[in-house]
């Protein structure tokens, strides 16, 4: 019976946990990454290919092109070296830009616009109007008690902390 007892103080302490800087930054990064997603859900046809009746897409598309046997053949063994993700390409670019460090010239990395010197503006994470307050736990912005309530009920520490 003893292990059923729990401390109300400890329970609320977990809810009131203040997120440290590292996890706040990680959260922020995830939000930004989500803004680059192509799709939110998984492929709706992913389960389809099991069916024999379903078209095999890659082959089906060849019919449209000015296809010849030669081209279809080369499609199969298309150079492995060109199959790279953006991250891999970026790393490659980074390494080669490191090598030419003393040479002048801009790279993908240096062409990025620098941070703005203007002060940051803050908007309520719930309603989008300008906000004056910060959530103590997670650092999100809010503008009024009502929005804080919504924020705590729906977002604050509730997902991907």
């Amino acid at each position: 019976m003893a292990d059923k007892r729990e401390s109300a103080r400890q329970k609320t302490a977990e809810q009131k946990r203040v997120l440290d800087d590292v996890s706040r930054r990680r959260r922020q990064r995830k939000v930004l990454e989500a803004l680059e997603f192509d799709n939110f859900s998984e492929d709706p046809h992913a389960d389809l290919k099991m069916s024999k009746k379903a078209p095999k897409f890659e082959e089906a598309m060849d019919v449209n092109g000015p296809s010849s046997k030669k081209r279809r053949k080369s499609r199969g063994d298309f150079k492995q070296r060109y199959r790279k993700t953006f991250a891999a390409l970026l790393e490659e670019e980074y390494l080669s830009s490191q090598q030419m460090v003393n040479r002048e010239g801009v790279t993908y990395f240096s062409a990025s616009a620098p941070p703005s010197p203007l002060p940051e503006r803050h908007f309520c994470a719930v309603c989008g109007f300008s906000s004056n307050y910060t959530c103590v736990q997670c650092g999100a912005r809010f503008c009024c008690i009502r929005c804080l309530g919504t924020h705590q009920d729906t977002r604050c520490l509730k997902w991907t902390a």
């Binding site: 922020q28 939000v31 930004l32 989500a34 803004l35 680059e36 997603f37 192509d38 799709n39 939110f40 859900s41 492929d43 709706p44 046809h45 389809l48 379903a54 078209p55 897409f57 890659e58 598309m61 060849d62 449209n64 092109g65 000015p66 296809s67 080369s74 499609r75 298309f78 150079k79 070296r81 060109y82 199959r83 790279k84 993700t85 953006f86 390409l89 490659e92 670019e93 080669s96 010239g105 801009v106 790279t107 993908y108 062409a111 990025s112 616009a113 620098p114 941070p115 703005s116 203007l118 940051e120 503006r121 908007f123 719930v126 309603c127 989008g128 109007f129 300008s130 729906t154 977002r155």
Partner: protein, 396 residues
Amino acid sequence: MATLVLDNGAGTAKVGYSTDKEPRIIPNCVMKAKNVRTRIFVGDQLEECKDLSSLFYLLPFQKGYLVNWDIERQVWDHMFGKDRYRVEFSDTNLIITEPFFNFQSIQEAMTEVLFEEYQFKALYRCNAPELSQYRYKYRYMESPLCTLVIDSGYSFTHIVPYCKGKKLRDAVTRINVGGKLLTNHLKEIISYRQLMVMDETCVVNQMKEDVCYVSSHFSQDMELARKKGPENTILREYVLPDFSHISRGYVRQKDDTTERKGEEQLIRMNNERFAVPELLFHPADVGIQEMGIPEAVIHVLSKLDEEMRPHLLNNIVLTGGNCHLPGFQDRLYRDIRSLASDEYDVNIFLPPNPITYAWEGGCLLAQDPDFENLVLTRQDYEEQGLSYALEKFDVW
């Protein structure tokens, strides 16, 4: 002999023969519809799709760079093939655009695919703003010395200065905010505040195009949006399509309050209307620590000789889909005007169609008497090899 001009953007490809009046604007992706399970839609085959809900996108581009060749070739096969342009490859030149700082291996792959798989006769690779400034110069009897192209597209925004037709590479600046990010941000805030639309990229993108605008008085508009009732001139109600009776979303007129059937789904667009495009001017609003477009323009100018600045400020050209946002040009003018030195004139040119402007430039370039010397022929490629083919063009 024909020349095909392909402005191969990450969002849409703009393609057509140099003698055509207008290009076709083809979504540069392969799509799967949730309710159409028997087929996929390649590029502009999407017109055949009646139900655009929960479209699943397969994009060849990631962050503006071509990484998925299998998908890109499906789109190109369709584009060049018998349903669309019926390209006679052995007798066709191709002008194709690439992003700035295009990675070496993408350039290699591109050259190889175009020459070895499609067997084009000759190739000209370039950055889209190069064609835009070429088109811009063509407007004048005496072409302007310098041009500053602001190309705000699907993946990002580039600010590129040109002097006498040459890009000033050290000053090229990129802001990682584009149309895709705006749509995704709008999706996110609507899903949190009103209705789950995270899967409705296509619908939300149309919504963005229909109701979003760039505010010239941001804080004033914020105050207006706070108001209730008729004082709030910002608020719009947007009717979502249901793909049975309503095939496309539209803005509900303010006066037809009576005949609401109760079936259609409404989205209330209030401060979202201008807070979303605002990211182009203040990326820091969502935590992207970069300058907005007007500040970045000044940043670009600060890297260049003082003699060039008045010429550049006097010849700013806007291209790319985001420039269609109402108020974009006015806001940009206001902001640049207040940031730039008052001894210079600021002149911003918004083409009638900023999306196809680079394509139009490509068509003009194809008619340039010098064009034949600029291209790389397949013969050259076969004799001299890939490295020669890469050096020929000033793309990176």
